[in-house]
Symmetry: D2
Subunit: 223 residues, 4 copies
């Protein structure tokens, strides 16, 4: 494929990844990305996107954007706004921020119009395929029961990853598959790539680590 | 009371109040606030809070914050994060971003812990009283059918405003009542204050105005 | 007060309280109500209301109704419809079916128009008071962490019950307070009544019991 | 195909299709189905399913079912329960009762386990294809702006119907496509069938008609 593997680090609302800490965490990611050549994307909370994207050169993604555009949509996060704040993409439908099917579609469309990459998060093979038909750049399969568990999906449930990769390749070949949930080590990433994914989505494995930089170096070591 | 009347300008996701435009719009508000002595609060989209709060000295409020704190809450907007980005308060439960009752309560609690003022938006007298029992700083009564109508609530439905003010005064005397929907002129603001409110919440009347600064000067002229 | 204590048995979607089983479970409740003089209300799933209400003479409540009336509201459960099916009341905002604040208000209004009693479920003292301001017949305080725990709220957290009772008495004296979560024995009911409640809301303690009739007799024995 | 065209009549929460009226409306549908040989399915509110299915021999579908099974799911409508009440299928994700993507998937799975047919309602071609990947029996494309408009989708937007039919045939050939929105006359049904659909979904065109039986006879006349 020629593409570099992708590691997406979701800061969630962890204190370690919020406000000033978000900048420092993003700088760790940038440093490891620069020295390893692995593409690392960071996802801070919406109010931190501007600060973070002005502090690092690696891609910054939103954790969520809505399908709403300009208009009477108080409290919504528009793709245009996060783009203007420096984001290059967005998670959509994370398991902690699930959306209506019609709203996932409009969020993907809004991201496309604004020039943002979209990663739709999903929970099983059928939903992954459905999401892929909405034509995002990525789908990220994350079995909810493994999120934050420390048990990597790439080991605990390789079939769900393999099944997602092969089905998406068949029906939506331009969509890349990521996997997430329980990823914290380089061997988990290696296993994910061997299963045919384009990379991984993780959070606590880095952000809640006592030594995030060491955790990041471990993640990329086998790529 | 000794308190100054309050004008809350909600930028919604209007193009005229997003990104660089959010800064300019906030500066207009700051200028009119400074020259009139009227307190004006601006509510930009979450990704714009940092930029706006670093550009003006008037209070910046979020359009929405969640009750979630630090943790696994991808895509949520925490009170701590918007506080760290420079916000001094937040709208909660705007008619375009309604919340579960239990989540309004936790959002008010989270705002309080973070040192943010909370304005709960409501749609009728009963809901206003219920919201006031959750002990925010403000409740803002906005009949949904009048939002964006150009017909000011203070004229179209003075009873809903008067009823909210008197009921809140009786059961939750520390909570101030704002009113919104259809407000665009100084006489609407004057009428709202005469009905006993602490101020108004408005959006298109300023942000979609051809001349927002003139609209703002008109708003404050009779205070 | 002269009122009889009230026991509300929520069948949830338990197999033991669905379809034909719902009728049998309701008949147990009717039998114990008749022989003890304690008022017992049963809450089957919406599709079972008609059958259950035609099989027993005790009150049947819905587990949820929407605020929508007649019109284009596919998939909503109207108060008129459950009334026509034989219901006498409804739970609103159960912790497993939380609603927007504005929708709780319209659901209470719709119940009132249809002649249904409304029980708004709540999670803490502040939310209980807020709910009481919407003028339902009952509020039912159920700390979510105790639901299904087997640890009765009336013992684990008497202050939340006492606080709810005294606050509601002060600001909304016509609203009766129930409590729920973890209730399974007669002594839990007795404790709840001593704390000033009008009765209890329970589910698994009866419906999932090996001997529901014995469980019911135990519940009412100390009343 | 050998299959008979299908007409699905959604009673929504219309007074004319609720309670005793639901039985009479279903009987009209049964009469027209019997005399024309066209398959007509009726969708009453959940509390009416039992009464309606015991009054007519044509299929009765729910307007909504949840993915939840037996358990602690107060206020949810389980597939098992509507099946036990006599339903043979269910609408899922109607535009007036939109669901999270993951919940559409679990609702389809729950319907399948209970032996119910599932019709997923959708709003555009991309969403229709996504829904079809979840393997329901039917997808029903209904552009929201045409619902209740009296302007039939089969005339106003034949491309959305044609596009849905051809895309679904390609990626999910076992899923049949229905179309809805604005359908009220026999010629609309004929147009829908010519576009390759298996039938239509309609509501007000029959249920709010002054003479529902005449409206039904008109609908089937050109089949």
């Amino acid at each position: 494929m020629g593409k570099r593997p992708l590691i997406v680090v979701n800061f969630k609302t962890y204190a370690e990844g919020t406000g000033e800490n978000a900048i420092r965490m993003a700088q760790y990611c940038e440093e490891v990305s620069a020295s390893s050549g692995v593409e690392i994307v960071v996802c801070p909370q919406a109010p931190d996107i501007y600060r973070v994207s002005n502090s690092v050169k690696i891609p910054v993604f939103a954790q969520h954007t809505d399908g709403a555009g300009a208009g009477s949509h108080t409290g919504h996060i528009t793709a245009e706004c996060v783009k203007s704040a420096g984001a290059g993409g967005t998670l959509i439908n994370h398991s902690e921020r699930r959306l209506l099917l019609a709203d996932i579609d409009s969020a993907v469309q809004a991201a496309r119009r604004a020039g943002l990459s979209a990663i739709i998060c999903t929970n099983n093979v059928a939903v992954t395929i459905a999401a892929a038909m909405l034509a995002p750049q990525f789908v990220a399969i994350e079995p909810p029961e493994l999120i934050g568990s420390g048990i990597p999906v790439s080991k605990a449930d390789p079939d769900i990853v393999r099944g997602s990769v092969s089905a998406v390749k068949r029906v939506a070949p331009h969509v890349d598959v990521l996997c997430g949930a329980g990823i914290s080590k380089g061997e988990d990433v290696a296993a994910a790539l061997e299963l045919g994914t384009a990379g991984v989505l993780l959070a606590s494995g880095v952000v809640k680590s006592k030594d995030p930089k060491a955790a990041l170096f471990d993640l990329v070591k086998s790529i």
